[in-house]
Symmetry: C3
Subunit: 203 residues, 3 copies
């Protein structure tokens, strides 16, 4: 279980860092801005989760190579951005961002449940883990957080549905690992569908 959560978290970090880098590039920022956006998106949600659950040490202090890798990725992307416009393709960004959303939802709600958090707060912590990084990045850049924009399709909602799917499966006696995988898939698919079909909340 710990190894699964660890793997999901590692993937979530890299997917989120990538999404953060693309967003910062769009705003035409320098290396400090780029790295800050990547770090905030990649580690913001998980850090808030660890603080809310009073976990210590923080995951990026314990696994100290995570920030090293994200820092290195930021450097490499500076160069890649000059040569490869493909990185900007909207479709690639959507897929990777949706993947990060699913992965971080799963690891957030999974760790919360492991620490005996009651289910409703556990779902909230899953949603916060998945979305707080992007919100923090947007606040640091003084943008309206994307997830609250009227024009943004379902985002928080996808994470919310995914986390409840996991909780539902676990309460029906299904093991944690398949529950986490279904949580990732449900979040990912509803998010991609929401963008493709331009779905937003009717109210």
């Amino acid at each position: 279980m710990d190894f699964i959560l660890f793997t999901i978290e590692a993937l979530a970090i890299f997917a989120s860092a990538y999404a953060g880098l693309i967003k910062a590039k769009r705003l035409d920022m320098d290396f400090v801005g780029l790295t800050t956006a990547a770090m905030a998106t990649a580690f913001g949600g998980g850090t808030l989760r660890d603080i809310l659950l009073d976990r210590s040490p923080l995951f990026w202090i314990e696994h100290y190579y995570y920030p090293v890798i994200v820092f290195a990725i930021s450097g490499v992307s500076l160069i890649l951005f000059r040569f490869n416009k493909e990185l900007f393709r909207r479709r690639v960004l959507l897929i990777i961002d949706a993947l990060g959303l699913g992965l971080y939802s799963a690891v957030g709600v999974g760790i919360a449940l492991q620490l005996d958090t009651p289910v409703f707060p556990a779902v909230l912590i899953g949603v916060i883990t998945a979305t707080a990084g992007g919100v923090l990045r947007d606040i640091l850049l003084n943008e309206v957080p994307e997830v609250f924009l009227k024009t943004t399709q379902l985002y928080v909602t996808c994470s919310f549905i995914g986390c409840w799917t996991y909780i539902g499966m676990v309460s029906f006696g299904i093991a944690h690992v398949p529950g986490l995988i279904v949580c990732i898939l449900v979040t990912f698919i509803t998010r991609v569908l929401a963008v493709k079909l331009d779905l937003s909340l009717p109210f």
Copy 2:
């Protein structure tokens, strides 16, 4: 004492959630924005207090029904907002918001003192508990925090005065419970008077 603090906190949460909902409605947000605004206003200040005082588990994880109730209230208010314009009345909002300010000031400074925090930081934590929720909501919505607007009448100041009244009473040997009640009343009354008489700091 614990039961009194618990009751004050429950009332503070509902008053703040209501104020958050009205603010989000004014900005014409969807259900995600509405719920986020309600949750941030209701739980933001208390969460920051628990983090600053290193209390664990957080109050909304321990009392897991709080977020459930605020979530339900957000849903109900979506419907109410369509039928009942009365909810918007400025006077009602002022009263409930001022009540939330007083209640959260009392519970913030009360809990800080219970944990042997020195008096000046305890007052700061009372003020932070009372105001951080609204500030967090405004930051999430990318608005200038209302409490810092020149046009806003005394707000932080009322909480500050209320908290010092409590500290003063306790140091003169008065029991905690009457101290907390006076703290709520002083904060509430100075806030309502400040709005009615349009008071703001002269400098």
Copy 3:
């Protein structure tokens, strides 16, 4: 060592509070805004450091006279601002702000290392301690954080270089105290030079 860190922190707090007051004054805020800006700049970075490292109690709860002093300074500066325009001089602000940057970098990375944080996260915590106060202040005032502005000369970078100098010296067996002093000097000098020579990142 503890006494050295304590002294550096005290100096860092007053330098940062001063920088916060000047910034708030430029925005023509009232006493609440002024005090909030001073407190956020002076205590924001250190508070985030203590939360990330799970130190308890927070430094401004343990040393409760710090917020009292910053509060008093805010009051005094209200009066001084009316008589003494010299306080605004750009050169004085630059020197004191750069000093605050160096002092907080040193105390941040020093405390992180004392708690056995691995070096890369320790540097990040040094940089966060040094810069988060100003960022928090700017977010509270709904400004674009100064450190991310294209027009801002090297700032985060100076703290980053200073922290690495300290780490480098300590790994070469040099004692902590000279390492901290060099960290302060390197950060301070690179920052002042960056402004004087109008240096910014080339990418």
